[in-house]
């Protein structure tokens, strides 16, 4: 059966209600075949989403009567210094590690992309390795390294006469330590994205620049990086979202401390849910958090891609 004839027939019977049902029945098999996705999507996505929306207007402790509070949870949330503090932490953390990590990723990617490098596959695998390492193991290792009294880093520093650094015992140092762990864990991931981007840039462009007398550095800064911009924007977007959603890294390394300095919004949602059992409030948090991340992502996209058309 040819496609046009099918379309004609369906157009012909569209106005009638019974007709659309019978049309559905006639095409039941395709629908049945694609239904598993939609069934799962409904159960594991739409239902939870609607349920947490419903939860977010209740005051409930999981058991017993839920009390309808309308927008009460949202009202409370907008003047909750802990929640906004965790948002601020995410912003601070973003500026601590994302610029460094992204720049390093671009540099590393272009080194890995260079023709002169031998064993490229091995280097690429090596750089990606931290990303697939269990974060719990990595986090505990970082704790051992960064421990104030017996940690290897401070021991090594003491050989050079540096007094112990409170890596995890000071508000700002803890953020820096978390940034280090993030760079360690996510640098390889970002490098791979950059590498993919680099491979779409024709070599002739760099070669032409060199023929015109540009040095390797100049070609990198004025040809490669500008052409890589869309990929960099993409990687930074992922980093923004990843920073707000950061959970395993601070949970293992600092548990959000000291004094909540490394607590991220998702950690806050987690502890509100599972330690304080305030399901309704936590659901409201999840929605506000989602809205904020979407807005920030859109703003960043607008800001960075502005003028690209010109």
């Amino acid at each position: 059966m040819s496609a046009p004839s099918m379309r004609e027939r369906s157009v012909a019977i569209r106005p009638r209600r019974v007709g659309s049902l019978s049309r559905l029945w006639r095409h039941r098999w395709p629908f049945v075949f694609i239904s598993p996705f939609f069934v799962l999507f409904a159960i594991f996505f739409i239902y939870p989403l609607l349920f947490s929306l419903w939860l977010s207007v209740q005051r409930t402790k999981g058991l017993g009567q839920a009390q309808f509070v309308g927008l009460g949870n949202y009202e409370l949330l907008f003047r909750d210094p802990i929640f906004w503090g965790s948002m601020a932490n995410a912003v601070i953390l973003f500026f601590i590690y994302v610029p460094v990590m992204t720049a390093l990723a671009v540099v590393l990617a272009s080194v890995l992309n260079a023709g002169f490098l031998r064993l490229q596959g091995m280097w690429r695998a090596l750089i990606f390795l931290p990303h697939i390492t269990s974060m719990v193991a990595a986090g505990y290792t970082f704790r051992l390294l960064l421990d104030r009294d017996g940690g290897y880093v401070n021991t090594a520093l003491s050989w050079f006469g540096v007094s112990p650094v409170p890596w995890l015992d000071d508000i700002w140092w803890a953020r820096v330590s978390l940034g280090l762990l993030m760079i360690w864990a996510w640098l390889g991931y970002n490098t791979v994205i950059m590498l993919a981007g680099l491979q779409t840039i024709p070599r002739e462009l760099v070669e032409a620049a060199k023929v015109d007398g540009a040095g390797r550095r100049q070609a990198f800064l004025h040809i490669t990086v500008p052409l890589l911009r869309p990929v960099i924007v993409f990687a930074v977007t992922l980093s923004i979202i990843g920073t707000f959603a950061m959970f395993a890294e601070p949970f293992v390394l600092t548990r959000g401390g000291p004094a909540r300095a490394t607590e991220t919004p998702v950690m806050q949602i987690f502890s509100t849910t599972f330690e304080q059992l305030k399901y309704g409030y936590a659901a409201a948090m999840a929605f506000v958090y989602f809205a904020i991340v979407v807005v920030i992502t859109i703003l960043q996209f607008r800001f960075v891609t502005r003028g690209d058309d010109g």
Binding site: G62, D80, A245, F247, I269, F290
Partner: protein, 463 residues
């Protein structure tokens, strides 16, 4: 790895939340126990309450050997190990009850209880629950109302324990061990510094002793973390003064009483003057300080003995001693509480009668409580045990001090305080970061307590 895309993150959050509250409808606190639960104890309860003028006697236990069940009991390592001490006696009395213990750290136990209770299934028959978490679960309606079974035991247990186990006049748990607090000290360190612990009557004396010890031996007085402070030392010291997070009416009092500020400033003096060792509780450096004699004292509860003797510092046997808490004011009790636990039955359990039989046999029977105290330092809440000669025996670990008698005196004096309420977990989680900020010099003691009080009022809707 943590979600990279926002949709995934939100779905995850949503799933977590939904997964946690599958079945909202649940039993409420109003449910009365079914007659099947009462068992032998309730008839005794009947007689006890029908003749209030008679001197109450500890209910006798008459085990029903035909009672058959397979109980699942949750708890953490030290608690389960201790309960198992009673196993031979219990299996003799109840040959048809088998017990399966599930060992998890406290945090996991509580989280799994929450999940099981929210989901409507999967809870054990019985769980060990610390006083600090008990009121929360009572408030949730997760636990069986065992008022009828528990009532005959009320006069025989430490009175302060019932605060966490009861709600609106109904009881949901039977007290196991109490956490009477005293000062554990190193005899050798005190001797070396020439400090006689008998002269330490007030906290000012304690502070002066700390300075002397620091000057003579270079050792800090106690361990207390700055950046990872958990608020427990502060809690122990305010509990001694009859203070907690809230007053009996439930109103937040952290910022209402100058004595709270005084305690926090007192703790700060030790940090500022190098008299405190900055180690987080329950971490390797913290254990090492005890084992290697790097600290002179620890203000802690009776149960700490088992940890020190068992695995933290077994080699330091004989070097320790215990004295009662110094006073803030002459009228203060020389007593406080930290922790302590109880056993409770879950509403979900289909073996209520056998579960109660287990709890009664382990906690309501002086022989069992004594055995668990002798073996594992779980200090009994059951006062009938205190007359046992074991209490007067010297404890070699503590250099021959009669620490058990001392703790029995302390436990009788523990003031009631608004500490382990339904919101204890949350209030502690809100206070601790404020103490951390204070310890790191980011705010004053007054600000720390005022900020914590404000957060608690906002988050818990308490006055």
């Amino acid at each position: 790895m943590s979600g990279v895309r926002p949709l995934i993150a939100v779905v995850m959050a949503a799933l977590l939340i939904v997964g946690a509250c599958g079945g909202t409808p649940g039993p409420t606190a109003d449910d009365t126990p079914s007659p099947a639960q009462s068992g032998s104890a309730s008839s005794e309860a009947g007689t006890a309450s029908s003749s209030p003028s008679a001197v109450p006697t500890l209910p006798a236990i008459s085990p029903d050997p035909n009672l058959s069940a397979k109980l699942v009991i949750w708890g953490w390592e030290s608690a389960i190990k201790t309960l198992k001490e009673v196993e031979p006696d219990f299996s003799k009395a109840y040959p048809n009850i088998t017990v399966e213990y599930v060992v998890q750290p406290p945090a996991d136990t509580y989280r799994n209880i929450q999940l099981a209770v929210s989901a409507g299934s999967g809870a054990p028959d019985i769980s060990v629950i610390e006083d600090s978490h008990l009121a929360q679960f009572v408030g949730l309606g997760a636990l069986s109302d065992i008022t009828d079974q528990v009532t005959p035991y009320i006069p025989f247990m430490n009175a302060y324990k019932w605060q966490a186990a009861q709600l609106d006049g109904r009881a949901y748990a039977l007290p196991w061990d109490s956490g009477p607090v005293a000062v554990y000290y190193r005899r050798d360190v005190f001797e070396q510094a020439g400090v006689d612990p008998g002269t330490i009557q007030t906290w000012e004396d304690f502070y002066q002793a700390a300075k002397t010890i620091k000057a003579k031996t270079g050792l800090p007085m106690w361990q207390n973390s700055k950046a990872r402070n958990n608020g427990r030392l502060f809690e122990k010291l305010i509990w001694q003064r009859g203070l907690g997070y809230v007053d009996p009416a439930g109103a937040v009092i952290l910022d209402k009483d100058p004595r709270q500020v005084e305690v926090l400033q007192y703790i700060d003096k030790f940090w500022k003057e190098g008299l405190a060792l900055d180690n987080e509780e329950w971490t390797d450096p913290w254990y090492a300080a005890f084992a290697e004699g790097k600290v002179a004292t620890e203000v802690t509860a009776a149960w700490m003995g088992a940890f020190l003797k068992g695995w933290i510092a077994p080699d330091t046997a004989g070097t320790w001693g215990v004295f009662k808490l110094p006073r803030w004011q002459p009228t203060d009790a020389q007593a406080s509480n930290d922790g302590g636990s109880q056993l409770a039955i879950f509403e979900q359990s289909k073996q209520q009668e056998a579960a109660w039989a287990y709890i009664q046999f382990h906690l309501g029977r002086p022989e069992s409580q004594l055995l668990m105290y002798q073996k594992q330092d779980f200090f009994p809440s059951l006062e009938a045990t205190y007359k046992d000669p074991f209490f007067a025996e010297p404890d070699p670990y503590f250099g021959g001090d009669e620490v058990r008698t001392l703790f029995a005196e302390v436990v009788a004096e523990i003031p009631s305080a608004g500490m382990y309420t339904t919101d204890y977990q949350e209030m502690n989680a809100l206070l601790a970061p404020e103490i951390q900020k204070f310890a790191l010099g980011q705010q004053t003691a007054q600000e720390a307590l005022a900020n914590a009080a404000k957060l608690i009022r906002d988050q818990t809707q308490r006055p």
